[in-house]
Symmetry: C3
Subunit: 133 residues, 3 copies
């Protein structure tokens, strides 16, 4: 059933929903009227937290599941996925404070993501080579 991978996926989605809700709140607090997404630096940092996380979620979710399915190791996939979620929480808290403070969380989540993508690709190719494409 891939329970742990599904659990990490839902945690990532919940975290992203928190970011989206915070962006909505920042829109009201800093009086940035829709449809604008610029005009106030505090709002823009909040907006970029969710936008950059979206740019990474589109890679993270498929890579996590392909890694899990082709490695046949749910615990490993979910563990790496959890590192990604922790890195993204750090990124959110850092970037909300200052643009320069977004680095460590970005790097941690990015590392987990590269492992999922390259590892997932490796497991897929290995299956193709050993079982035929």
């Amino acid at each position: 059933m891939h329970i742990l991978v599904a659990l990490v996926t839902m945690l990532a989605l919940l975290l992203y929903m928190v970011m989206v809700i915070q962006t909505g709140g920042a829109r009201q607090r800093y009086k940035v009227e829709a449809p604008a997404t610029t005009g106030n630096l505090d709002f823009e940092r909040q907006f970029r937290i969710q936008a950059n996380t979206l740019e990474n979620l589109i890679v993270f979710i498929p890579a996590l599941w392909i890694f899990a399915l082709f490695s046949a190791n749910d615990h490993l996939a979910a563990g790496i996925g959890l590192v990604w979620v922790i890195g993204r929480v750090m990124y959110m808290l850092g970037y909300a404070r200052a643009a320069q403070a977004r680095g460590p969380g970005f790097a941690l989540a990015g590392l987990a993501q590269v492992v999922l993508v390259l590892g997932g690709l490796g497991f897929v190719v290995w299956r193709g080579v050993t079982m035929g494409f």
Copy 2:
């Protein structure tokens, strides 16, 4: 085969493609030259319709499928998903008219999405508790 859930997924993707095509049309109509995404409020509202729907699709699609797989209730998942699609159609039509008119559709789709995410998380945790993680 999860036919109904796949059908709702395809409807959501078709709706989003309509929004993307309308954004391309608005780019020409309001003479907003690529790569700019600002400069004309009518274009910006159209652009935000698709951008905000993208921000929600990244949550909606994985949550819909995890809800369907872990609830083992395709009809319920597809029904909630259909409410999301209807809410997003209302959001599109409202926001294209005026920024203030985007509220009701946003709220309806948002409600369906929260049910899918929290419900999906609940079903996953329940499986973990009863069957072991």
Copy 3:
């Protein structure tokens, strides 16, 4: 195992990660300080390459897999998916050079995407009609 479809998915994710890394490089090269995403046209084109690809990935990945699952033809799905990846490489190289040069790659990937969405929808409806929804 859907090895070929998984392989094409990973290629698309790798291509998108290249675009994201290039956007980060352009941010430094053209001195566009976070959280801004505008202010330099060369950066903005690079930013739009990844943003537009994201707007398409959210449709491409679910449509590719639903097409593969419901057509039960992995080779066909992976072949159309590979055309999408090639179109997006052309789009990236063209748009990085000039905004007007983004057309051919955009059209090729768009064509593949429409085939996956409408074809996938067709296969889903066909299953529903022949096997019951």
